[in-house]
């Protein structure tokens, strides 16, 4: 059973439908109490870092999540749900992330650079991982974000180039994060969701 955290304005439903289509048991959860006995968690996120941070803190998700992650429960963070795993973001000063990755999210900068980075772009795999099994070394995925996680050599598994190179896939032990939206990235996205379910 995959538990999908249903933060407000997140597209948890889209992830839910995607898993249902794949024939994987899943449930959208709205409170930390439902996290008990989780063995796999998905954290989708859309919108502002501050808003998601507030939700997770106010709804008391942070402690239970951190415990489960320490125990080795696997987590997939999507888009903002990946960024929230960092320390903080330039987007919402003063708001803390879950602090799994010792990184800070930065804003895309560049005179001619169109922000947000919205649309299909290329992901280049730099290190292999079970969750990336079956994908080609360069694959396309759907992005929609204005902030990004910089590249961290030992953690970043795949990069995308937009202004600068940024992390499109990151992993640390039982935690996996993707900047793009697998629930909107057609067969590549489905592969990742399916691999995560099997992981």
């Amino acid at each position: 059973m995959i538990h999908i955290i249903g933060a407000p304005s997140s597209n948890a439903k889209a992830v839910f439908y995607a898993y249902r289509e794949l024939g994987v048991d899943c449930k959208i959860i709205l409170s930390p109490a439902e996290l008990r006995n989780s063995n796999k968690i998905v954290l989708p996120g859309v919108g502002a870092f501050g808003a998601l941070s507030d939700f997770l803190h106010d709804s008391r998700f942070i402690q239970p999540l951190r415990s489960l992650l320490d125990e080795g429960v696997k987590l997939l963070g999507i888009c903002l749900g990946m960024q929230i795993l960092a320390l903080e973001s330039e987007e919402s000063q003063g708001h803390k992330g879950i602090e799994v990755f010792e990184l800070k999210c930065k804003k895309f900068e560049g005179a001619k650079l169109r922000v947000p980075h919205t649309g299909w772009d290329q992901v280049s795999i730099t290190s292999n991982h079970e969750v990336l099994e079956g994908l080609t070394a360069e694959f396309s995925a759907y992005f929609s974000h204005s902030y990004y996680l910089p590249v961290q050599t030992d953690l970043t598994l795949a990069v995308t180039s937009y202004g600068a190179e940024f992390t499109s896939v990151i992993a640390k032990r039982n935690i996996f994060g993707v900047q793009f939206h697998p629930e909107r990235s057609q067969s590549n996205g489905r592969k990742i969701l399916s691999n995560f379910a099997d992981w």
């Binding site: 439903k13 439908y17 995607a18 289509e21 919205t118 649309g119 937009y162």
Partner: protein, 251 residues
């Protein structure tokens, strides 16, 4: 690469059927925005387009007068079967209606007639992010008769530009006519903004599409061309790629 892949976006225009079921919709083609031919069942068409590797689907409700809440059910059903970005439009006038559409699963809202309603746009942009708001400029030959600059000045004066994550440009007179796309506004928009531009209206062959991309458009919407020609998105992709356009050819 600082350039995203160019997008091919089927536009699925829906309206209620004239049958007994008040919640039944059908997908249609228009000519100059007037209903012209039935294309089929919206969910069937959405499934077909998704199989054909589209970049995004635009679902527009043709309702002339007011917001239709049964449309939200259609959006929901579409999202249940989609793993492709979905943009939705159709007489959305208030933040509450916009919220309903997003909660039904849309990734982006397309606002046309009410693009001057700054309060609405501000609400959508702040609650859902600028990238989830597309503004649609639908103009006739009469509207552009004093020139593209004059038209663009009028649009600028509406004050929505800083709130739009995307601008859609549609020449009503060319819609469904297959005569090629009106690109007269594109140069101006490209010069003065960095917002992505989607253009539509009049495409009937691959060179029309290539021309749009070469002029700097980020995406094109396709309606009549997909329903009435023996071509599909997969074919267009390969053809455009051979013409040097930066476009996905496979997932």
């Amino acid at each position: 690469m600082n350039v995203l892949y160019r997008r091919l976006i089927p536009k699925i225009l829906v309206e209620h059927t004239s049958g007994l079921d008040p919640s039944a919709f059908r997908s249609i083609l228009t000519r100059s925005y007037k209903p012209f031919r039935v294309v089929g069942e919206p969910l069937s068409q959405i499934r077909i387009q998704q199989s054909n590797l589209v970049d995004e689907i635009m679902l527009i409700h043709r309702n002339e007068s007011k917001f239709d809440s049964s449309f939200c059910d259609l959006v929901l059903k579409s999202c249940e079967l989609l793993n492709t970005p979905l943009s939705v439009g159709g007489a959305i006038e208030s933040p509450a209606q916009a919220k309903m559409i997003f909660e039904s699963g849309a990734d982006k809202l397309v606002v046309g007639r009410h693009r001057g309603n700054i309060a609405l746009l501000e609400d959508v942009a702040s609650n859902h992010g600028v990238q989830s708001l597309a503004v649609s400029i639908d103009y006739s030959s009469k509207d552009i008769s004093s020139g593209a600059e004059a038209l663009w000045e009028r649009e600028l004066s509406l004050g929505y530009l800083s709130l739009a994550g995307e601008i859609c440009v549609n020449n009503i007179s060319r819609d469904g006519q297959g005569v090629g796309v009106d690109l007269s506004l594109i140069g101006l928009i490209r010069e003065q903004t960095t917002v992505p531009v989607i253009v539509g209206g009049g495409i009937s062959n691959v060179s029309h599409i290539a021309e749009c991309f070469r002029m700097g458009c980020d995406g094109v919407t396709l309606s009549t061309f997909l329903s009435q020609s023996d071509q599909n998105i997969r074919q267009l992709r390969s053809h455009l790629s051979s013409l040097g356009i930066h476009i996905r050819t496979r997932n």
